[in-house]
Assembly symmetry: C2
Homo-oligomer: 286 residues x 2
């Protein structure tokens, strides 16, 4: 009768890894502990979910059916939590503003000048969608582009994009660059929005050469400082981070970086709408 969401989480992890040991590691749990959690869950359901399959495990048909519902259930749980927190914030007139660092200085100043009671929270780039969609944050400040979705945004700030090089790179001493000069330079690969940040295709219609795949700004700067690739990023990154062994040079002939405030139209509280208006009186863009 009583389903424990921790067990559901455990099962989903096992189903994804198809390996109890790795899943246990991911959950910061011992392997026997995780095995027993799965057994408990099976006990509650009265159904076998996984079977030993030689080395490793395999989901039973029931497990396959359950994992689908389980994922959706966990999302709903997050949503329920977020709904309660959002209602509490809305009632207190508070606004929770997420941001994907760095925030350009001028935007930061404008934010500080509002006298609305607001809270700031750092948001990982890859979680921005679920946080906004689930209503866990009211607004989010981030660099465009954002992916598809029901979100609305207004651009708050534009600034040049810059190239990042290891210190000893042949172009590291330049004061400005054209994108055409970077045709042969390997560039760090990104999981999303490669077209924009890697400028692919280049003006001549060709694709750049890709280096290692990175999942965060920190990783990207590390890879660059090691000399394994160059990167293209916003001027604010150059200002905000001071990575040793990396120098930045403005690129003159590509579109600027754009920083926007983004929100989910269904979850816009009155206070959040007010903040949004005072940050950007201009009309919204989809």
């Amino acid at each position: 009768m009583d389903l424990d969401l921790r067990l559901v989480r455990a099962f989903v992890a096992v189903a994804e890894e198809e390996h109890v040991g790795r899943a246990a590691e991911r959950l910061y749990l011992s392997q026997p502990g995780l095995t027993k959690q799965i057994r408990r869950l099976e006990g509650v359901l009265g159904v076998r979910l996984v079977e030993r399959q030689g080395r490793g495990i395999r989901l039973t048909p029931a497990g396959e059916a359950f994992v689908v519902e389980a994922r959706s259930l966990l999302r709903r749980a997050e949503r329920a939590v977020a709904a309660a927190r959002r209602a509490a914030r809305a009632h207190g007139g508070e606004v929770l503003v997420g941001f994907v660092p760095p925030i350009p200085g001028p935007v930061s100043v404008r934010l500080a000048e509002l006298d609305v009671p607001l809270e700031l929270r750092r948001v990982d780039w890859h979680r921005r969608g679920e946080l906004l969609g689930g209503g866990e944050i009211d607004l989010c400040l981030l660099p465009l582009p954002i992916g598809p979705g029901p979100f609305r945004h207004i651009v708050l700030w534009r600034e040049p994009r810059v190239a990042g090089f290891p210190t000893r790179h042949r172009l590291a001493g330049r004061s400005e660059l054209s994108i055409d000069e970077l045709a042969e330079e390997p560039i760090v690969d990104l999981p999303t929005h490669r077209e924009y940040w890697c400028v692919d295709p280049r003006p001549d219609g060709r694709s750049p050469r890709y280096g290692p795949l990175v999942h965060s700004v920190e990783e990207m700067l590390e890879v660059v400082s090691q000399g394994r690739a160059m990167c293209i990023t916003s001027a604010s990154v150059a200002e905000f981070y001071r990575p040793p062994g990396v120098v930045f040079v403005p690129i003159l002939d590509i579109a600027p970086a754009e920083f926007a405030v983004v929100w989910h139209p269904d979850h816009l509280t009155d206070a959040a709408a007010e903040v949004r208006r005072r940050l950007a009186p201009s009309p919204e863009t989809s």
Copy 2:
């Protein structure tokens, strides 16, 4: 981070009762225990959900928002469990048939003659919808009418409806009746489908007089045996139950009782479809 569904259940109960003591009783829990569960849930959410309001409690705005999501979350949890069990049954070729007693004898015989591996489960009348809708049972045998919903059904059996009287009632000795003879008799009230089972309106266009409201067959028979009202039910009830102090008399001039097999079109496994076909080769009715 980790939401415990038991706490969610506890909170929903408190929200419904607006009274910790009563909710605790309903959950078979001590009052302090329940209070602590609510506090724990509030701790997890980081938000107050209830406030003391003089004698009793009141939901905060966050509580109001959460209770809506919470209910939906609990339903999803039930659905997830049901999905796993159904998949396991489907894989084993098993069929779980619910029934709202009584099952007419001939239907019971037909069911016994199938050599499919099937399991029978008694289902409370008021839970038939959620059980079928959630996929916890594959088919359900029950008396019509069923309420609105996506369900499909085939009538398996028809039989006369009968009036139930206390033994000393003036009509208790009759061998048959017309509905018109019951115009002045108080009849037990039902939460749903009153039109059909209480024959309201009567052929003359008027409504019957209503007696106590009952929620189950057992309650109904008890009320009748106490002489507080009469009832109209199916002949199978007269056969299946033998309540002391109640006698049954057929009513000739109203539509018969109909027993049907019902299913949810989205949750019909192959094996269940086979059982359905062999129970009732006739074409389905919406």
